[in-house]
């Protein structure tokens, strides 16, 4: 019995280096979020759904791919799947009126990420230069839903494109473990709308250290 348990544990450790590495307590070198929480998404498979023609399917796919490519720069690879149960990240797009009916918390927001299922798997330590040692709660994300409605047509097309790219990249960041927001308005993970479609070094280094 004990032998079986040991073998199973060893198999798990060998087969899941990413999960084990992300769960292990560690000392973080930087921390740019306004919350003392960080996460990781071991599955990282994305399933997408369009409710109506708020976005064209091509534009919607392009925005999702832009976001995925940005997070590849942080060394965080995602995949797209057609099988919904296989995904840990669901991204919904469509007209604002339709999405707000499904998710009223979108009101007044350009996008929302909702953590449906997660687990606290331990703590990290961050030695903040100004505030001293901080305990950072580490979460494994098992299911996250992202809602991004279309933009108003008053925006010029390049503004719309860049703002959409920013929103998709920002919300995917939450789905991959970026809890809270950056306090620096240049970062994609800052909490207000803008045209910042490219991840900054701060965005990247914050989340990369948890993978």
């Amino acid at each position: 019995m004990r032998k079986t348990f040991v073998i199973l544990a060893l198999v798990l450790i060998v087969a899941s280096p990413t999960i084990v590495s992300a769960m292990a307590p560690r000392t973080l070198t930087v921390f740019h979020s306004d919350l003392n929480t960080i996460g990781f998404n071991p599955n990282r498979a994305i399933w997408t759904y369009l409710f109506d023609d708020g976005f064209t399917p091509g534009d919607f796919a392009a925005y999702v791919d832009h976001a995925r490519n940005q997070w590849v720069r942080a060394g965080i690879h995602t995949s797209r799947v057609n099988d919904r149960p296989a995904a840990s990240i669901e991204i919904f797009g469509g007209t604002r009126s339709r999405l707000e009916q499904e998710e009223p918390r979108l009101q007044g927001r350009v996008g929302v990420a909702i953590i449906v299922k997660s687990a606290n798997v331990g703590n990290h330590i961050y030695n903040c230069p100004t505030l001293g040692a901080r305990t950072i709660s580490n979460h494994r994300l098992d299911s996250v839903r992202v809602w991004v409605p279309q933009r108003g047509w008053l925006l010029l097309w390049w503004q719309r494109t860049d703002r959409n790219r920013t929103t998709f990249t920002h919300e995917l960041g939450h789905a991959l473990g970026w809890f809270g927001h950056s306090q620096n308005s240049q970062d994609v993970m800052y909490g207000a709308d803008g045209m910042r479609p490219i991840l900054t070094a701060r965005d990247i280094e914050h989340l990369r250290q948890n993978y």
């Binding site: 306004d34 919350l35 003392n36 929480t37 759904y49 369009l50 409710f51 109506d52 023609d53 708020g54 469509g94 007209t95 604002r96 009126s97 339709r98 707000e100 009916q101 499904e102 998710e103 009223p104 918390r105 979108l106 009101q107 007044g108 927001r109 350009v110 996008g111 929302v112 990420a113 909702i114 953590i115 449906v116 997660s118 505030l131 901080r134 305990t135 950072i136 709660s137 839903r145 279309q150 108003g152 929103t167 920002h170 919300e171 939450h174 809890f179 809270g180 927001h181 909490g191 207000a192 709308d193």
Partner: protein, 312 residues
Amino acid sequence: MTKGRKTVLIAVAVLLVSVVVYSAVTVFFPTRRLALTKFHGPSGGAVFGLSYVEPTFENHVIYLSSNVIVGTVLTTPLEGASVGFYDVRVEENILSRMAESTIKVYAENKLFEVGETYLMLLSRFAATVYPFDFYVADLEFTFRVDVPSGQVMRLVDPAERVFIAPFQDPQYNSFSRLREYIRSLAPANQVRSSRFLRNRDAQVLEEAPSHAALINMADHILLIEVVSSELISNGMLTRAGFITLEEFKGEGTHGAYSLLLPPDALASQRHLVFLVEAEDGGVTWATRRGSIVADDDPEFSPLLEKLTASRR
């Protein structure tokens, strides 16, 4: 003066007046910024929104709130639901007045506790697909009001029920001072909040007075068959995949790949749906009651006959 030139002049005049009014509002109602107390602890928050505006307390009041109230929580959403409706008794209207003495507040479960009194930043939500109007709580600014001490505390970790004094300037942590401050933001709120809150003043038609009126007001009338259904997270509606069996009015449904239907809509069931187009191109129910008629409803056959007859 030619007609075209006159139109251009009027347009320029309107633009200039708009700029002057906007500048006046900005000058006469400048926005201060109260520094929030920093929170250095883990948070069990599970909803992260990218806001239209800079994430300050003032912006949330001015741009993202239709109402600010003090309310006591009477009931919570069902146990196990991730999100839902709280019944809240309105103790005091601070920003904008609401007619109701008890309201429905939409928020994630465990944000508020029964019997506690909160200062709530709310945005009104009115849509035909929901059986009542309700208010969405601003998660980032939830304040518990401690009535005996007259102090407010901000909820920063809903999972662990961690509250902190919200503002660095302690005088604003007094409820009476904060109430005064929020009221000073009312003029700016009146001008600016409609920009991002489409539902702020929306009025929903409860029911059409007759079948003829319903048929007349609908932009799209379809006979559909539900091929798949999934309850949405608040349990109030079903997201239904469908095939169109008959199209009685309108062309297409603006690319709607699924429709929201009542929670009891079942796969393989037929429905008559009466839809109107939203401003942004989506479609929604024409009225709160009577727009979705399932084939086991007594109204189904008379309506179907009327629609079929009108095609002949």
